[in-house]
Each structure stands twice: as structure tokens, then as C-alpha cells.
Amino acid sequence: MHKTAQVIMAMLLIVLVGGGAYGCYRYWISQSSQADAPVGNVAALWQATLNDVSGKAYPLAQFQGKPAIINFWATWCEPCRDEMPEISALAKAHPEIVVLGLAIDEAQAVHEFTTTTPVSYPLLIAENEGMALLEALGDQKGVLPYTVILSADGKLLHTFFGRVTRQMLEKALHLTP
């Protein structure tokens, strides 16, 4: 009888440990699948020319050659607005990194937003071009927020669906805070 109890206990333990291990495995897979080089056509990005709220044109080619964070957002997207102060703080602390906010939105709405919530990096209007750029960079469904991390040699290092934190971005760029 003593043995029976031990066997039952052992089996329950195995189920629990197994379940835990499976959970960790799933988590690890989800992490590593993002670490696997994401596919995307970065060239499309550098070819674009976008305006800021004041109408000034920015040919994106000028940002090539540096590590970059490209953050797609919109004023109507709550998680996007939520993450922007953290991205802004990161951009301020690391001037050697290019940080761009591409708004899938109207210039007027972006202008209103920046007066209440200024950020330390350029916000460019991609109302018409944005969806094509999102698709080229791996966000086929066009969901926001979407953040792309590029290496200095223009490789797609990491992509994030949904809200990012400063920590996640720093880790993706191998920065020490």
C-alpha cells in the first residue's frame, strides 16, 4: 500500500512537472520564434519619403547605417499611445539610435496629439503609404502597434506586435540600460 501511494504521488508529480515544462517550452518557443530572423523587405522602407506634421519632407534613406527602431502607430490606437513615452525616453537616452514613429493617421490628428504629448523622436505621417510599409515589414494584418528593430547594416533584427516596453527594445538592440 505504501508503494501504491508513492506511485500515485510520483504520477501526479510527473503530470505537474510535465505541465510546467510544457508551459516553459511554449514560452521558449514563442520567444525564440521571434528571435528567428523575421522576414521583411527593408528596402521598401528606405525608398519612402514621408512628411512630418509641419509638411517637411523626410527621405528615409538618410537614416540608413544606424541601428533603428521603427514604430508604427496611430492616434486612435490606445496601446500605441501608451507605449510612446517609453520609446521617447529610450530615444532621448540613446541618440546613436534612429527612432522613427510612422503614423497610420491624418496629419491633423497627429498634430493635435503632439501638442498634448510631445515625444523626443520624429513623427512622420504615413496615412497612405503606411499599410504597404507594414506589409513589407512583416505585419500582413496591418495591426498596430507594430515595432521593427533594424541593425546598423539594415537587417531586420526583431519585430514586435502589440505594446512594447523600453526593456524589450533595449534587449532587442543589445543595449545596456
Binding site: 508513492q6 486612435w76 496601446p79 498596430l144
Partner: protein, 600 residues
């Protein structure tokens, strides 16, 4: 050693499974993990349009669980080059969502119908623009869709849209538990259901478990060690929770109406008998325990190995779960509905588990106190046992009351007041040198006795409310309004015909069953009120009696996403189902307010 392993496992079960999702950081991991398989926008939000009549159309937004549309970002227009002219677009009010930047926003988490009115002929196409987000922290870009309106079939559509507009089962806004689950936020679900469980633990249903558990703790001499007592009560609580979770998941999967099954006359009678049996043991008529032979065998078996008593406790907890079942039927409905609709049994199961864990909190506290929270033996303890006994009898009466006629219920309540009052010496003379506490007790006992007598009088005179037993004695019979007349409905088909025959009048459909306490309360306290009758005048009143729970009954309930009565559905003059559907009990005032909000 084994006991330590068991404790470790229990700890792991608690610390790994439940708070895993409760933890904010972990929930962020979850959203990250899941973010790869979010829905394409056209699966998250589906939109259809149909013609209602010569001047009206409706656009139906079907919203997947865990997603929402912004009310202010829904726009319906007539494309250029089309003939029709839009007069107005009517959207429901929606739910409020706090947005840190834009302030409160109105959003729709559930299927929503926009009513569209045209000045003359409806156009052949409509342009619909909408934008929404997922609760996972992602937003979809604004969508613009061209929808075709089949104006040619307008006469046929008028009758054909009836079942169509009813079938999407507009999920009511007021159902908190299913709304929580649809939100898809794990930690909110866990905390919400844990809280609901905690509230439930204050209902008398949990009372019987306290003496059972204390019996176990004291019986096993465990009150000497805090750790031992706590591990016993933990095993007991987990046994109860797991049974509940598994039963709930199974019920959700099979699509069976658990809350209905728990309220059949047989189940109610058995429940009431269990409570009567428990209460008699509280009065000391007998010691409630298993026959000694069985108990001995069980005891011997469990002492063969260390930790065996934890198993037996686990087992006891599993059995005890049956006792509390009559009380939890209502809050379960939301969770079960979600499981049966989405087959997301993990989320549903976690919800049920946290619900039952919440109910077990007082038991865990008793264990943690190593029995110091339990009354000490002695005359005081006896008084407490008697109070518990009376309360359990009250639960038994409450459980069985739907099966009894009002006057029989009243006689039972009266005897529940009079007998204990006499027992507590309401009729005995106080001794000359009585203690102040004795005098106070006698005063209370006399009050209880008088209330019991008033209840008896009420039972004979046919009073309406337990709170006003002498109402019908004091007032003349003329003030009692005539009962509301309902037309009976037996099937979905019949319902559609009756709605079509309503000729522009709004329709109210009430789900009723003999065993449903709230339905009786609606009959007695709501529909009988003059204010309610006035609000309902000019409406076609239908009632579906689902006591038999036949296939037709189930189909009717299912059509409106209901898990059982009570449920009240309103239809406007065009035969469209309106939101919210009333689930559960609303008093006359709330009911009238709900009616006014519907603008019928």
C-alpha cells in the same frame, strides 16, 4: 516525506497555475505569446447589412470575443452616385471604456445592430467604416466596406428578417461574468471570480462545510499543529474546487444546462434533505458520520501510508462540493455559457477553479488558525451549533421553496421562527435574579415569536411579501392588482409568428419555470405593480414556460443565449431583439428603468 511532496505539489498547483496569470508581468508574456495568432481583421469584426422595410435597413456588427469597436468610429454613408438619402443612424449606447488620453470612450464588446433610416428608397449599397481593437493590446486599422442592400426583396425581407435579427443572440451588456470572460484578461478573470467566490462564501451554503471541516481537524487531533490543520483544510478545499471545476467543464462541453439540472425537483428535494439531515446533527439528535465498519475500513486503508488522511480529506472535499451546488448555479451560468460557446475550456476552467477557491477561503482561514477560530467546546459551542442548525433548516426551506405553494412556504418559515423562539425560552418566565443578558435574549426570542405568528397569519390571509406579512390583513383587497396576462409560447416558430402578428407593437418575452424562484418573485413583486403594468400596457406579453426543459424550450433559450430562466427579452415594433436582455432578478423600480432605457 510523502506529505512534504504532497504539500509541495499543492503549493506548486497554487503558485504555478493560478497566480501565473494573475501576475501582471506574466499576463504581458501571454499577450506577447498570443500576439502571433491574433485574428485577421475580417474575423475579428464581421459586418452584414439587411433591409428592414421601405425606409429602414440595419447593419449588424459581429464582434469576436476579446475584441471591441469604437462607437464614435463607426460611420455609415451612402456612396456617391447612389439615390437614397440617409436620415439617421441609430447605434446602441455601448459600454464605457476609460482611455487615458481621450477620456471615456463608448465601445461595443458584443454584437451590435445599427439602425439606419432613409428619407425615401434605400440605396443598393452602403459604405460602412469602423475601427476596433483587441483586448490583447492590438488595434486594427480602420476598415471601409461596401455592403449590398437587396431592396428588391423588401416585402419578403420584412418577414424574413425576423428570425435573422433575433438569431445573432445579442449578448446582454449586463451579464458581468460573461463580459469578464469575453474580455479575455486572465488576471481580471481570476480576481473577478475569486471575488465572486468570496461573496458566495458568505452565503449559508458554505456553513455546512465549517462543521464538517472542524470535525475533521478535531477528529484527527490536528488542531495541535498549525501546519497540519492547514494542510488538511487545503486538501479539503482543493478537493472541493477540483470537483467543481471538472463538473463545470464537463457541463460546459456537453452543453447541458447545469443550472437547470441542479434545479430539477429531484435535485432540489435531495439538496433540502441533505440540509435537514445536517441541521439535525447540529441539534445533536445524532452524530453524523459514516457507519463504523466503513469508517474503520477507510481509516485503516488511509493509515497504511503517511499522507493518507490528506487523500481522505481531498475525497471529503470532493463530496462536499455537492452540498454547495444549489447556491452557485446562478454565477456559474456566465462561465458555462462561455465554455459551451467557445470551447475555451482552459479559461472557463480557471474561472471556475478561482470561483471555488474563493468559496474555500473561510475554510482555509479556519485551517490556518489551527482551530482557534472554531468555537471551544462547552455551552457556548452548543448555542452556536443550534444557530447553525436553524440556519441550515432555513437553507433547506429556501432550496425547496420553488416546489411549494406560497402558504406552505409561509407555514414552514413561521415554524422556523416559532420553534426556536420557544426553545430559547420566549414563553418561560424569567427568574427573579435574571442576568441582563438573559433579559435581552428573552426580548429577542419574543420578537422572533411574534414575527413567526405574524407569518402564520400572513399564510392564512394570502399576503404577498415575507417582509409585510400582515399587508393583506391591514389593507383592503381592492389594492391588489389583477395578475398580468401572458400569452404562452412553446417554440421558436410560434414566437416568430406571434412577433409578426404583433402589428408594430413592441413585444416582451418572459422565460418562466415552476422551479425558478426569481420567476415567482417577478410574478409576485414586479408584474403585479401598477407602475410596471402601466409601462407594459400596449405591449404584447409572451411567456415561455420552460419547466419541462423540452427540446423546443432549449432551442428558445439558446436563441437568446440564455442558460435558463429568469430571462426577459424585448422586441421593438419591427420585431428586432433589443439589448439588454434581462437576466436574473430586477425589482419593480429597476425593471421600469430598464424599460424606459429601451425607448419602446
Amino acid at each position: 516525506m510523502i506529505k512534504r511532496i504532497f504539500l509541495l505539489m499543492v503549493w506548486m498547483l497554487l503558485s504555478v497555475n493560478a497566480p501565473l496569470y494573475a501576475d501582471g508581468a506574466f499576463s504581458r508574456l501571454l499577450t506577447q505569446e498570443d500576439s502571433q495568432d491574433f485574428l485577421p481583421v475580417d474575423e475579428a469584426f464581421q459586418v452584414r447589412a439587411s433591409v428592414v422595410d421601405a425606409h429602414q435597413a440595419e447593419v449588424l456588427f459581429t464582434i469576436a470575443p476579446g475584441h471591441y469597436l469604437y462607437r464614435s468610429r463607426i460611420a455609415v454613408t451612402v456612396p456617391e452616385g447612389e439615390t437614397g438619402q440617409l436620415v439617421e443612424v441609430i447605434l446602441p449606447a455601448g459600454e464605457e471604456k476609460q482611455d487615458p488620453n481621450f477620456g471615456p470612450q463608448r465601445v461595443f464588446h458584443h454584437d451590435t445592430v445599427a439602425q439606419i433610416r432613409f428619407a425615401e428608397v434605400p440605396p443598393t449599397t452602403l459604405t460602412v467604416r469602423y475601427q476596433g481593437c483587441s483586448e490583447k493590446g492590438l488595434c486594427y486599422p480602420p476598415q471601409t466596406k461596401q455592403l449590398t442592400l437587396n431592396a428588391a426583396v423588401s416585402s419578403a425581407a420584412a418577414s424574413a428578417t425576423l428570425p435573422v435579427s433575433a438569431s445573432p443572440a445579442t449578448v446582454p451588456d449586463d451579464d458581468v461574468s460573461s463580459a469578464l470572460l469575453r474580455g479575455g484578461q486572465w488576471w481580471k478573470i481570476i480576481l473577478g471570480f475569486l471575488g465572486a467566490g468570496l461573496l458566495l462564501s458568505f452565503t449559508p451554503c458554505v456553513f455546512p462545510m465549517i462543521p464538517i471541516l472542524s470535525g475533521i481537524i478535531i477528529g484527527k487531533q490536528a488542531h495541535t499543529s498549525r501546519a497540519k490543520a492547514f494542510s488538511l483544510s487545503l486538501a479539503y478545499t482543493l478537493g472541493m474546487s477540483l470537483t467543481y471545476t471538472l463538473a463545470g467543464i464537463a457541463a460546459g462541453f456537453s452543453g447541458q444546462l447545469l443550472s437547470t439540472a441542479l434545479q430539477t425537483p429531484l435535485a432540489l428535494s435531495i439538496g433540502a434533505l441533505i440540509f435537514v439531515g445536517l441541521s439535525f446533527s447540529m441539534f445533536g439528535y445524532y452524530e453524523l458520520k459514516l457507519p463504523s465498519q466503513i469508517e474503520n475500513a477507510f481509516f485503516q486503508w488511509s493509515t497504511r501510508f503517511k499522507g493518507g488522511h490528506l487523500f481522505s480529506d481531498f475525497f471529503m472535499g470532493a463530496i462536499s462540493a455537492l452540498i454547495i451546488s444549489p447556491c452557485v448555479a446562478a454565477p456559474l451560468a456566465g462561465a458555462l455559457l462561455y465554455i459551451s460557446q467557445t470551447h475555451d475550456w482552459v479559461l472557463g476552467g480557471v474561472a471556475l477553479f478561482s470561483l471555488s477557491l474563493g468559496m474555500g477561503v473561510p475554510l482555509l482561514l479556519i485551517g490556518a488558525s489551527a482551530g482557534t477560530l472554531l468555537p471551544k467546546a462547552g455551552p457556548w459551542m452548543n448555542a452556536v451549533r443550534q444557530v447553525f442548525g436553524v440556519l441550515m433548516l432555513a437553507v433547506a426551506v429556501w432550496v425547496i421553496s420553488p416546489l411549494l405553494s406560497t402558504s406552505v412556504q409561509w407555514v414552514l418559515w413561521a415554524s422556523l421562527c416559532i420553534v426556536p423562539a420557544v426553545h430559547w425560552r420566549a414563553m418561560d418566565a424569567l427568574p427573579e435574579n435574571a442576568q441582563p443578558i438573559q433579559r435581552v435574549m428573552k426580548g429577542l426570542a419574543v420578537m422572533l415569536l411574534i414575527y413567526g405568528i405574524a407569518l402564520l397569519v400572513g399564510a392564512w390571509s394570502g399576503a404577498q411579501s415575507v417582509l409585510y406579512p400582515l399587508q393583506s390583513v391591514a389593507t383592503t383587497a381592492t389594492s391588489v392588482a389583477a395578475p398580468t396576462r401572458f400569452q404562452r409560447v412553446h417554440s421558436v416558430q410560434e414566437l416568430n409568428t406571434l412577433i409578426a402578428n404583433a402589428a408594430g407593437k413592441p413585444v416582451m418575452l418572459d422565460f418562466y419555470a415552476d422551479w425558478c424562484v426569481a420567476c415567482k418573485e417577478y410574478e409576485q413583486f414586479v408584474f403585479s405593480q401598477p407602475a410596471v403594468q402601466q409601462a407594459l400596457s400596449g405591449m404584447v406579453l409572451l411567456q415561455a414556460d420552460v419547466t419541462a426543459n423540452s427540446q423546443e424550450d432549449a432551442a428558445l433559450l439558446k436563441q437568446f443565449g440564455l442558460f435558463g430562466p429568469p430571462g426577459i427579452v424585448f422586441f421593438n415594433g419591427q420585431g428586432q431583439t433589443l439589448s439588454p436582455i434581462i437576466k436574473g432578478y430586477q425589482d419593480a423600480q429597476q425593471f421600469v428603468a430598464t424599460l424606459q432605457r429601451l425607448h419602446l
